[in-house]
Subunit: 186 residues, 2 copies
Amino acid sequence: MSPLVRSFVAHFGEMGSRWGINRTVGQIYALIYVSSRALHADEIAEQLEFSRSNVSMGLKELQAWRLVRLRHQAGDRREYFDAPADAWEVFRTLAEERRRREIEPTLTMLRNALMEEAGSEEDRVAQERMRDMHDLIEMLTTWFDDVQRMDAKTLAQLMRMGSKVQKLLEVASKVTSLGSAKQAAE
Amino acid sequence: MSPLVRSFVAHFGEMGSRWGINRTVGQIYALIYVSSRALHADEIAEQLEFSRSNVSMGLKELQAWRLVRLRHQAGDRREYFDAPADAWEVFRTLAEERRRREIEPTLTMLRNALMEEAGSEEDRVAQERMRDMHDLIEMLTTWFDDVQRMDAKTLAQLMRMGSKVQKLLEVASKVTSLGSAKQAAE
DNA sequence: ATGAATTTTCAGTAATTACTGAAAGTTCTG
DNA sequence: CAGAACTTTCAGTAATTACTGAAAATTCAT
């Protein structure tokens, strides 16, 4: 492993452990991500100096996260793994998985809590806070769904605009049916 | 603690441990967040059945994340803690802290790696992947900065629009100087 | 200053999580 | 279908992380 790859892999190990992902899994992913070709488990074990079984478990987890893909090479029985190179795709996958694993269960818990009859003033306040949290999460995820549905071009355009979109919205509101009366008043 | 609060606290404990945050810290935060008034460390220790010192450490960490605020009550020497109730503010704080702790160091690492001379074809490919990742992260954070600078009204409007913003952008591009030639061609 | 009330630190221990090697399982080839 | 090539599982152990209680430090009132 070159020093370049080594530092990338090490950094991802550290970062992985700050997220729920464990260090070795982060390193395995990093190695596959920067690699120009698909790798098989023995190569990974050798390069990172992990046991073969550790690599096996790590790959299983990365597959569960859909961050790596299983590949087969003609005339070779071993399983090879590579990772999508498109960073935006990776980001999207991560977002989807986190949503499924963390966001959805949280929303379910909050909804259940909000269905309960508040037994006290304390509970009433608690429910109020939970409702705010629920509504924010729902808004953010709905919005993110919409963003995902946009094509890459629109998205890039929107991002490039940044806060200038504010101006655009102001203008837009003046030409929509709702805005026209307001425009006349101004 | 009512069953309502108990389940909220328990859930946050679980979720905390999936993020880098440890379980007890998650529970302490959850308790403070849903509470109608500021709490002091002994109350928290008693309610969650943690040792006083564990609570002390947890509060220190939550303060470092800027998720709780230290308060003083007149005529009481103890330190009370509460949490901002506005969910959007909480989200923003979390995003800022994660950025400082995780995103910025990652960008630094990537920039350093990209300054290095690639010593091999393998390194060249690795740098290419790192550049993609760097550019995506930078785009997302720049964009997020812009979003943060928007006022709440614009933001809500933008979110409510969701993917309909695509139509708006199409229209906008036709009335800008750059878009006018394109429009003529169509 | 004294000491009571409170918070923090930290060394030791408990609990959890990660990792390994050996064994079992699977898949393919001849 | 034997056995070679490869992957997975899992019980045991190592490493890490979390938690506690005792002691030290801080803060404040008198």
